[in-house]
C-alpha cells in the first residue's frame, strides 16, 4: 500500500471498542455494565410511534425476537470490531449461517463453498439446504480458480472459513473475494476461529461475516450464540441476482431494501424477514454473557495464540507425531499467507496426526487430564476432539479425506492455562500412546 500524504485522525482502538462500542452508562440508573433487558416486549408511548416502529420510521424496540436493547449492544459492538455497518445476533452459529444464506438465496439458487468446513456447516449446505432447493458445490479452499470454475448462472454466494476446519487451510480472502466480485457475487466468511482481533474479513474484501459467538468471542463456554455482520460493501442492485434486496418485498409492503436502505439493505432484510420469520433470535442473557467475554477478547486472543504456538512447536518435534497442521508453523503450506492476512497470529485451534492411527488417537485423548474431550472450541480451557468420530462423523470417508481428515487426526483448542502445564499433560498422554504402541501396559 502506498503511503498517503494525508493523515487520518486517530481512530478508536480495538481494545477500547471491545469494552465500549455500542454501550454508554444506562441513562436511567447509571449502571456501567450493560443491563439485561429481560423483557419480551416494549411499551409504545402512543399509537403513532407504534406504527412508526413497525414501519421503520423510528429507531427502537418492539419485541425481543426482532431486537432487544442488550442484544443491540452486542450487535453494534461486533459491527464496530468487524468494521461492518451492522449486525444481527442469533441463537447459534448455525442460525447465523442459516440467516445469512436465506436472506440472499431462494430455492433454485447455488453456493460455491470451501470444502474444508465445520461439520455442522457441511451438513447444512450438503444435506439440509438441498432439501429446500439450495445446492452447493464444494471446492478446494486453496484454489481460487476452483471457486471461479464452480460458479453457475444460479450461483448467489461464495463461502469459506478463514481457517478451514479441521485442516486449518488459510482462506485467501483477497483473491476469493476478487473472484466473487468479478462474477457479481458476494463473499461470506466464517471467522469463528479468528475473531475480529486476528482477522477482519471485510477489510480484506469479504462482504459478509459470520461467527459462532459460542467460541472465542465468549471464551467462557457457557452460552450458545451466533452473529452475522454486514460489511455494507456490496451493491445488491448492480445485477438482477439478488431479488430479495433489489425487488419489492410483498412481506413488507413492497419495500425495496437496497433502494431505501442502501448499504444497510442486507442487515435490514435479515432482521425484518429472517429473524422475524425464522425466529432464531438470541436471548438477552446470552448477549450479556457474550459481552462479558468480548471485553477481554484482545487479551485472551494474545494468550490463546502464544500458548497454541508453543504447544504446536512441542508436538511438531515429538517422534510420535506424524505432522502438525498449524498455519503459524513454517511447515504449514499456508504459512506465508497466514503471515500476510493474520499478522497477529493464526488462532489457537489446530490439528495433528499421531503415528498409530485411530487407536493411537483414542489412547491419547483418554490419557489427557487438563485438555477436556468435548465438541467445542474457543473455550478459555483447553479442549481436544477426534473429528472422524465426532464433529465429522456424518461425513463420508471420501469427503473426509478430501477435507484432509485422517483417522488418527486430533484437533486441539488451546486455552489460557500455563503452557508448561499443557505440555506436561500432552507429554503424559503421548507416553501412554508410546506404551500402547510398544505393547507395554
Amino acid at each position: 500500500m502506498s503511503e498517503s500524504k494525508h493523515r487520518s485522525p486517530t481512530s478508536t482502538g480495538f481494545d477500547t471498542l471491545a469494552l465500549h462500542a455500542g454501550q454508554s452508562p444506562d441513562p436511567t440508573t447509571g449502571a456501567r455494565a450493560t443491563p439485561i433487558y429481560q423483557s419480551a416486549a416494549f411499551v409504545f408511548p402512543d399509537s403513532d410511534v407504534a406504527a412508526g416502529l413497525f414501519n421503520i420510521e423510528r429507531a427502537g424496540h418492539v419485541y425481543s425476537r426482532l431486537s432487544n436493547p442488550t442484544n443491540a449492544v452486542l450487535e453494534e459492538r461486533m459491527a464496530a470490531l468487524d468494521h461492518g455497518i451492522g449486525a444481527v445476533v442469533t441463537a447459534s452459529g448455525q442460525a447465523a449461517m442459516h440467516l445469512a444464506v436465506t436472506t440472499l438465496l431462494s430455492a433454485g439458487d447455488h453456493i460455491v463453498s470451501s470444502r474444508s468446513l465445520y461439520g455442522g456447516t457441511h451438513n447444512l449446505l450438503e444435506y439440509t439446504l438441498s432439501r429446500f432447493g439450495i445446492s452447493t458445490t464444494f471446492v478446494d479452499p486453496r484454489d481460487p480458480a476452483a471457486f471461479a470454475a464452480a460458479i453457475q448462472d444460479n450461483t448467489k454466494l461464495l463461502f469459506g472459513e478463514v481457517l478451514g476446519n479441521p485442516g486449518l487451510e488459510v482462506l485467501d480472502i483477497p483473491k476469493i473475494s476478487a473472484v466473487a466480485h468479478d462474477n457479481g457475487l458476494p463473499l461470506l466468511v466464517d471467522a469463528t476461529f479468528t475473531t475480529p482481533y486476528l482477522c477482519r474479513p471485510i477489510d480484506l474484501g469479504a462482504d459478509l461475516v459470520m461467527h459462532s459467538a459460542t467460541k472465542f468471542l465468549s471464551g467462557h463456554g457457557v452460552v450458545i450464540g451466533g452473529v452475522v455482520v454486514d460489511g455494507g460493501t456490496f451493491d445488491w442492485m448492480a445485477n438482477d441476482k439478488f431479488p430479495t434486496l433489489s425487488k419489492p418485498y410483498a412481506g413488507f409492503h413492497d419495500l425495496v431494501f437496497a433502494e431505501e436502505f442502501g448499504p444497510q439493505a442486507f442487515i435490514t432484510r435479515a432482521r425484518k424477514e429472517g429473524i422475524r420469520d425464522f425466529g432464531a433470535c438470541m436471548a438477552p442473557m446470552t448477549a450479556f454473557q457474550i459481552l462479558q467475554g468480548l471485553e477481554t477478547l484482545p487479551l485472551r486472543m494474545q494468550r490463546h495464540v502464544s500458548n497454541a504456538l508453543e504447544v504446536a512447536h512441542y508436538l511438531e518435534a515429538h517422534a510420535l507425531v506424524e505432522h502438525v497442521s498449524h498455519p503459524g508453523l513454517s511447515s504449514h503450506p499456508d504459512y506465508e499467507l497466514a503471515k500476510e492476512i493474520l499478522p497477529l497470529g493464526a488462532g489457537a485451534v489446530f490439528s495433528f496426526e499421531l503415528h498409530g492411527g485411530r487407536e493411537a488417537g483414542r489412547v491419547f485423548i483418554e490419557n489427557l487430564s487438563l485438555f477436556s474431550h468435548l465438541a467445542n472450541v474457543g473455550d478459555a480451557k483447553s479442549l481436544v476432539i477426534h473429528p472422524a468420530s465426532t464433529t465429522h462423523h456424518r461425513v463420508e470417508e471420501q469427503a473426509l479425506r478430501s477435507a484432509g481428515i485422517g483417522p488418527g487426526l486430533v484437533r486441539l483448542s488451546v486455552g489460557l492455562e500455563d503452557p508448561r502445564d499443557l505440555i506436561s499433560d500432552l507429554k503424559g498422554a503421548l507416553r501412554a500412546v508410546e506404551r500402547g504402541l510398544s505393547g507395554k501396559s
Binding site: 493523515r7 485522525p9 429507531a59 450487535e75 453494534e76 459491527a79 455497518i85 444497510q264
Partner: protein, 263 residues
C-alpha cells in the same frame, strides 16, 4: 422513482409512499458525498402521513446520473427544475442536511415562489471547509472520509450506542462516502466552501434550524448565526448530538420535523 432532468436520470426515494394528487411535496436534500438513504426513516414517516416524499440523489450521487454540480447555486437551480417535475403545484417544503441545507437556503432565495417551508439541519452560512479536508478529498484519499466521519460524530456517537438496533453509524457514514464516485466528495466540499451567505436575507419562508450541541463540522454558534438572520425561524438544539444527527438522534430529529411539518 426516476425522472429525467436535462437528459439525465434522477433517482429519488419515496419512503414507500403512494401520495394522492393533492398531497404536499416534501423534498429531502442530502449532504456532501452522501445520498438519499440517509433520509430513510423520516422519508417513510412523512410518506405514511400523506406527503409526496422526494428523497433525492443529487446529480452524480447515489443512483442519479450526471456530473456532480459545482456550486450551491447550480444545485438550487437544478432543484427548482425537480420541483417543477415532481410537484403538481410546483411548490415544496425542503429539508436539507449540511450541504443540503445550503441548497435549501439558496433555493429559497433564488426561487422563493417554489418553497413553502425550510428545515435546515447541521447548517452554517458560510460553510468553510478546512484545507486539510479539501486537499485529501481532492486526492480521493481515505483520510478525507476518516476526517469527515470522525468530526461528524459526537464523543458518544463515535463509540456507538445507536438508537437504531444493531447498526454502526460510524461505518455506515464511512461506507456511503467510500461509495461516492471519484471526485464527487471534493466537488461537494468545494461547493460548500464557495457558498456565501449573501442570499440569506432573501429567505422569508418559515424555517426550522436544528443544531447538534456537539457538532464539530457546523458548530452550534454557526447554526445559531443562521437562525439569527432569518425572520421566521424556530431553532432546536439536540443535546449530546454531533453533525450526523440523522443517525445519532433519528427519533429527536423526526419529532422536530414532524412538529414543524404537520400532516
Amino acid at each position: 422513482m426516476r425522472i429525467d432532468i436535462n437528459g439525465n436520470e434522477v433517482f429519488y426515494g419515496t419512503g414507500s409512499g403512494t401520495p394522492s394528487d393533492a398531497a404536499n411535496t416534501l423534498i429531502f436534500v442530502h449532504g456532501a458525498g452522501f445520498d438519499h438513504t440517509i433520509w430513510v426513516m423520516p422519508a417513510r414517516y412523512f410518506a405514511r402521513h400523506g406527503w409526496r416524499v422526494v428523497a433525492l440523489d443529487l446529480p452524480g450521487h447515489g443512483r442519479s446520473q450526471g456530473q456532480a454540480l459545482t456550486s450551491i447555486a447550480q444545485m438550487a437551480d437544478w432543484l427548482a427544475q425537480v420541483i417543477d417535475a415532481v410537484s403538481p403545484n410546483q411548490q415544496a417544503s425542503v429539508v436539507g442536511h449540511s450541504m443540503g441545507s445550503l441548497v435549501a437556503m439558496s433555493l429559497a432565495a433564488r426561487h422563493a415562489n417554489k418553497v413553502q417551508k425550510l428545515a435546515l439541519l447541521g447548517t452554517s452560512a458560510p460553510m468553510p471547509v478546512a484545507d486539510v479536508l479539501l486537499n485529501a478529498a481532492l486526492d480521493n484519499d481515505q483520510a478525507a472520509i476518516d476526517m469527515t466521519n470522525t468530526w461528524s460524530h459526537s464523543a458518544r456517537g463515535s463509540l456507538g450506542s445507536s438508537q437504531n438496533p444493531g447498526v454502526s453509524n460510524l461505518h455506515i457514514g464511512e461506507r456511503l462516502l467510500q461509495q461516492a464516485g471519484a471526485g464527487v466528495f471534493h466537488t461537494d466540499l468545494a461547493a460548500c466552501n464557495g457558498f456565501t451567505a449573501d442570499g440569506l436575507a432573501e429567505v422569508k419562508q418559515p424555517t426550522l434550524v436544528i443544531i447538534g450541541d456537539e457538532d464539530k463540522m457546523t458548530p452550534p454558534r454557526a447554526g445559531l448565526a443562521v437562525a439569527d438572520q432569518l425572520p421566521h425561524v424556530q431553532q432546536r438544539r439536540l443535546a449530546g448530538c454531533g453533525h450526523s444527527m440523522l443517525s445519532e438522534q433519528p427519533n429527536q430529529v423526526l419529532d422536530e420535523l414532524a412538529a414543524f411539518l404537520p400532516s
